[in-house]
């Protein structure tokens, strides 16, 4: 019969909350006690089920409904009035979604009347976009132009096909089809995407050789398409880790690379492999480094290591291939790449379904790997011109 302390020790190990000494005590316990082993296995089974929970996208109208309900802080309208308006908008948005189903269109004049009334009260849906607004006139409507594309009148030189780089891109049928596609359109209307595109770090990364090599590699494509990598990137722990200095130092260290590339590391959970690892010189160097100790003491890192999706990722063949790839290492050493990874907009983007679709798209990868696109990435004017042409192509 297990004691309460022993049960708690197992639970804390499952949560990655034990100190190194407690973890050692835990390992001894499960080696010696079959009941403890069984409990650990069952609890891991429970947590593994949770790891399969899928994160769902909120309804597309939710953000707009929330923002429409919010006044700027200076506005003094009554909270109840704002609340009423917000509820009306929510109802309207839901009805709009329902009305797109053909079956509901027939005989739904009463519902249509409610929508018209709600629209009069709330001003929903928006009456088209501003001139020059991305998405103006299309079915989405009202998507505001990103800061990067606002406030500057495009010159003729920017928007015509006279630019040879842009001309080259648009002569490629696959790229033309890509920019006409829904995923690309959605990306252009995505705030996070536009923030990332406007950042200096993004431009530097896009222009680097290492990035191009990675983006055009099969391993990267497989990795980005894997469920484990998507789930892990969406976790709070991953986000926290990516923003720590210790993580950056560790990723850049030679010892870390040697260790993570070793077979023994990959089988860390296996007792024999762990013993091999402890006799490995590179692993000892790693353990002695300040960055490693900081990271080990970091709660988010422990949670990440304990995460089922993270474990899946580490055992993913494409992930290993990438880690062994020289270009990937160069990219991780690249300061701009690190800045980009720590950038909140970039993280949001990675979590975005349309962005994932784009990344899985062969034409998009071809586009990113092309010489012309690199030239575009170096020049804000040219990239704006490309976006303008892409929007024209969509119309």
């Amino acid at each position: 019969m297990l004691h309460r302390d022993q049960i708690e020790l197992i639970h804390r190990e499952i949560d990655g909350a034990n100190t190194p000494d407690e973890s050692a005590a835990f390992r001894s316990l499960i080696q010696e006690n079959p009941e403890a082993r069984a409990l650990e296995a069952e609890l891991r089974q429970v947590t593994a089920h949770f790891a399969r929970w899928e994160e769902r996208e909120p309804p597309p109208h939710l953000k707009r409904t929330i923002l429409d309900a919010l006044p700027p802080p200076a506005r003094t309208s009554h909270p109840i009035a704002r609340w009423t308006v917000s509820r009306l908008r929510l109802v309207t948005a839901r009805m709009e979604a329902m009305m797109t189903r053909k079956a509901l269109l027939i005989g739904s004049t009463a519902m249509a009347a409610v929508i018209v009334v709600a629209a009069l009260v709330t001003g929903f849906p928006p009456m088209g976009g501003e001139a020059g607004t991305i998405g103006a006139g299309d079915s989405i409507g009202g998507v505001r132009q990103a800061a990067r594309y606002r406030g500057r009148t495009m010159t003729q030189a920017d928007v015509t096909l006279a630019n040879p780089e842009i001309q080259a891109l648009f002569q490629n049928d696959r790229i033309l089809n890509l920019v006409k596609g829904d995923a690309f359109r959605e990306m252009m209307q995505n705030d996070a995407y536009r923030q990332v595109m406007a950042s200096e770090a993004y431009r530097q990364v896009m222009a680097s050789d290492a990035y191009r090599q990675i983006m055009s590699s099969e391993a990267y494509r497989q990795l980005m398409a894997s469920d484990a990598s998507r789930r892990i990137m969406a976790t709070e722990a991953y986000r926290q880790i990516m923003s720590t200095e210790a993580y950056r130092q560790l990723m850049a260290s030679e010892a870390y690379r040697q260790v993570t590339a070793s077979e023994a590391y990959r089988q860390l959970m296996d007792g024999e492999a762990f013993r091999q690892l402890q006799s490995n010189e590179a692993f000892r160097q790693l353990q002695a480094s300040d960055a490693f100790r900081q990271l080990q003491a970091n709660d988010a890192f422990r949670r990440l290591q304990n995460n089922e999706a993270f474990r899946q990722l580490q055992s993913n063949a494409a992930f290993r291939q990438l880690q062994d790839n020289e270009a990937f290492r160069q990219l991780q050493d690249n300061e701009a790449f690190r800045q980009l990874q720590a950038n909140e907009a970039f993280r949001q983007l990675q979590d975005n379904e349309a962005f994932r679709q784009l990344q899985d798209n062969e034409a998009f990868r071809q586009l990113q790997a092309s010489e012309a696109f690199r030239a575009l990435s170096r020049s804000q004017q040219l990239s704006e011109a490309f976006m303008n042409e892409a929007m024209r192509a969509q119309q």
């Binding site: 429970v46 409904t65 700027p72």
Partner: protein, 183 residues
């Protein structure tokens, strides 16, 4: 209790400041950062997408209305998650009472599990819905949002020891439910 600032916290503070100073994009930035996580937290708590949507909207509205009273020395994310958990608990209280795992197992879920989910997954999801709402919140925060004990304690405003004891008990009940299903 003051918490260690992280880059994410700094970004939150900047957006909160921006909103209070009238910057037009600040509210959108906060909603973009949190809407998905809050929606999913509410969804796991309530097992109903419509209710989760309502809760997310209510949470943001309440949060923005009270933003002037938010003390920036605390973490914004703890604050907004706390509002979400509390609002979800309020919705659960307003629903008609259900039997919990502590009383009697095998209560059908309010919404059917996806068709392609495994039987064990269904059983665990149903068992989760039968936990007491407060305990369900702990399991969701730990296993869906990967919060630490300290973060859960901050969000739920309870002691870390209480977090551990309630989380461990809840997980034990889920383990037993899973085992009973397999027997």
């Amino acid at each position: 209790m003051e918490e260690t600032p992280t880059a994410a916290d700094e970004q939150d503070r900047a957006l909160v400041r921006g909103y209070l100073e009238g910057q037009p994009d600040a509210a959108g930035g906060l909603v973009a950062r949190y809407q998905k996580r809050l929606f999913n937290l509410a969804l796991r708590m309530l097992d109903n997408a419509q209710d989760a949507e309502d809760v997310t909207q209510t949470v943001f509205l309440n949060a923005f209305l009270k933003l002037r009273t938010f003390d920036p020395k605390y973490r914004f994310f703890s604050w907004i998650y706390r509002i979400t958990v509390n609002e979800s608990l309020n919705v659960l209280k307003r629903r008609k009472p259900t039997v919990t795992l502590e009383d009697e197992p095998a209560i059908p879920a309010p919404e059917a599990a996806p068709e392609d989910a495994t039987e064990a997954q269904d059983r665990l999801s149903q068992a989760l819905l039968c936990l007491k709402p407060d305990d369900r919140a702990l399991v969701v925060l730990r296993h869906f949002l990967f919060f630490s004990y300290e973060e859960m304690a901050n969000v739920l405003e309870i002691h870390v020891k209480t977090v551990k004891s309630r989380l461990f008990s809840a997980r034990e009940r889920l383990r037993m439910a899973l085992r009973e299903g397999e027997a």
